[in-house]
Amino acid sequence: MTSVPLLDVKDLSVEFRTRGGIVKALDRVDFSVEKGEMIAIVGESGSGKSVSAYTIMGILDPAGKATSGSAVFGGQDLLRAKESELRELRGREMSMIFQNPRVALNPIRRVGAQIADVLIEHGGVTRAEAPGRAIDMLKKVRIPDPERRAKAYPFELSGGMCQRIMIAIALACSPKLLIADEPTTGLDVTTQAVIMDLIAELGAAQGMSTVLITHDLGMAAEYCNRIVVMHAGHVVETAPTAELFNNPRHPYTARLIAATPRPTASLRGLASIPGSLPDLRATHIPPCRYSLRCERKTPDCDKPLPVHRQKDGALVACWNPL
């Protein structure tokens, strides 16, 4: 791995100012995405997966603020870029799709027009050409009868259709990076696989890098070459998929794998993870945010968290790894 990664996030910390005090949502998060690679960020709700994505895209809520670190994308640090520069990148160089596609689309605008909006904004497409190009995009995401569907409103389409529209919007300008934030949440099980296949296939065809944000380790394993495991705002482990499953090093990763249903496992064998995420508003958050739920806790765990890096880019943040 000598090449420069497409996206390199280093030491990223994000804080939210709330009525209950400052919430340290992300703490020195590190990960990178190579060109054409598909990686997964996995963790429970509230682990900071989406906050990481929003920070990179520059669409974080105004109450949240990146307090340290960098996110270098194509040679430019996104955290220090001006809003106008970020806007140029968003939708053209990097795109994002979201969960619950039916509410993630403008309810009173025809879907064709929503795709056309992005094309006009970034693609150098004229207003006259835009509707035709939008229909081309609908064909690309394999929506049957695209001419008619372009005139539909989101409420007239199924969830799976809406997610295809979202993908069409995101890929309209052939971005280099796609962040898919739980793209299959809120969809039927059968539709989930179709959508994921579509994302993987279109990504591969365009040589696009994809970050899949999910809580589903199984889905991450199926589609991604590398997995970043997050817990309570920390990256606890990063490893190639096979390596992570065969030889998890962080106790949380091991628990997560044990809690993931597989065809061979019985329901009885399925483990749950005890405890819940620590209160990130507390002024004295333990250095290792997993230590409160960890059965391998040692006295060392109250010291600042060590980060062991391997030469292949893998990483584990633990005093007492497996």
Binding site: G91, N100, V103, P107, I108, Y153, F155
Partner: protein, 337 residues
């Protein structure tokens, strides 16, 4: 869509029936014996009985109601005792003055309130947000008749910018040829700009008075609705797609945020039509409000009934128009069960 609009039109029928029943009952609830009242203080019992018969008051209430509705259908609202003319004629000649004032009041109100609400929502916590809150709270707290008087004192008496608050035109101008009855429209139709400006000058102060009283609900709703829409998922999508802030705020957020605002217009019209009566009195406006107040003082009941009925029917119509507008602008209406 036409089917939906048709359905909505039909659903106005119960409201119209309700309005008819209430206005009917109001006249029958007159204190004392209406027949004795109409006969005058010196009438003999025989004369009273005759009048009772001629008014149909000896029949049962449902029968009287049928007669009442039949009269209405013929456009017979009774006669004004004070002027001796049919109430329908009186109302018809005065309605355009009230309508022009009310509609301009609405335009001014929306013109101030919507931008204010949008600015407050897009800059939460800023000085403009706080002043939006102060203006709206003060606006609903100011009685319309008091605002009108204050404006007259400052803009007419002290500064001399506004014309005397005495009706639709000052004495040097004559009314434009009667086409719609709305002076602004009529003067433009005949190309009489001088009259147009004269009429507009007379209208501005009362219309602004109405606007101050009614902008609060619109501004509050715009702000709340904008805030909600701006934090919704599809706005996040629009921002993530790199759409320009103008496009995000106006083409995406604003259009969605306007939908609930349109539905509050019904309440706004209720405010407007009520405040209209007070504003007409303050500005000596020759509309149906002033007409009704004169009738109230003279205990002239037929005009009051005609006034209440006209206002209520107008209100039902305006609500209908709002709902039809909503059906046109929101594609989802009728699809969600």
């Amino acid at each position: 869509m036409l089917l939906l609009i048709g359905k909505r039109l039909l659903s106005a029928i119960p409201s119209v029936i309700g309005v008819l029943v209430v206005t009917f009952l109001l006249t029958r609830a007159l204190p004392g014996d209406p027949a004795a009242y109409f006969a005058g203080p010196a009438a003999t019992p025989q004369a009273i009985a005759e009048i009772r018969k001629s008014l149909g008051l000896d029949k049962s209430l449902p029968e009287q109601f049928v007669v009442y509705v039949k009269d209405l259908a013929r456009g017979d609202l009774g006669n004004s005792i004070a002027t001796g003319r049919p109430v329908l004629e009186e109302v018809r000649s005065r309605l355009p003055a009230s309508l022009e004032l009310t509609l301009l009041g609405l335009v001014v109100s929306v013109g101030i309130a919507v931008p204010l609400g949008v600015l407050a929502a897009t800059r939460p916590g800023s000085w403009i947000d706080h002043s939006c809150r102060v203006i709206t709270t003060a606006g609903v707290s100011l009685p319309a008749f008091f605002t009108g008087l204050l404006l007259i004192y400052v803009l007419y008496y002290l500064l001399g910018w506004a014309p005397a608050p005495l009706g639709r035109l000052d004495i040097f101008n004559s009314a434009p040829r009667d086409i719609t009855g709305l002076y602004l429209v009529d003067s433009l139709l005949v190309g009489d700009l001088e009259t147009f400006w004269a009429a507009l000058k007379q209208l501005l102060l009362p219309a602004f008075t109405l606007a101050v009283f009614t902008l609060a609900p619109i501004a509050r709703m715009t702000r709340a609705s904008m805030l909600e829409v701006l934090s919704s998922d599809f706005i996040r999508t629009a921002r993530a797609s790199g759409l320009s802030p103008g496009k995000v705020v106006y083409a995406y957020a604003f259009r969605n945020a306007m939908l609930p605002v349109v539905t509050t217009l019904g309440m706004v019209f209720s405010f407007l039509l009520g405040a209209n009566v007070l504003v007409e009195k303050v500005f000596s406006w020759p509309g149906i409000g002033t007409f009704a107040i004169e009738a109230l003082i003279a205990s002239d009941y037929a005009p009051i009934q005609g006034f209440v009925l006209t206002m209520a029917l107008m209100y039902v119509l305006l609500n209908l128009a709002i709902d039809v507008l909503y059906i046109v602008i929101d594609p989802r209406v009728g699809f969600e069960a």
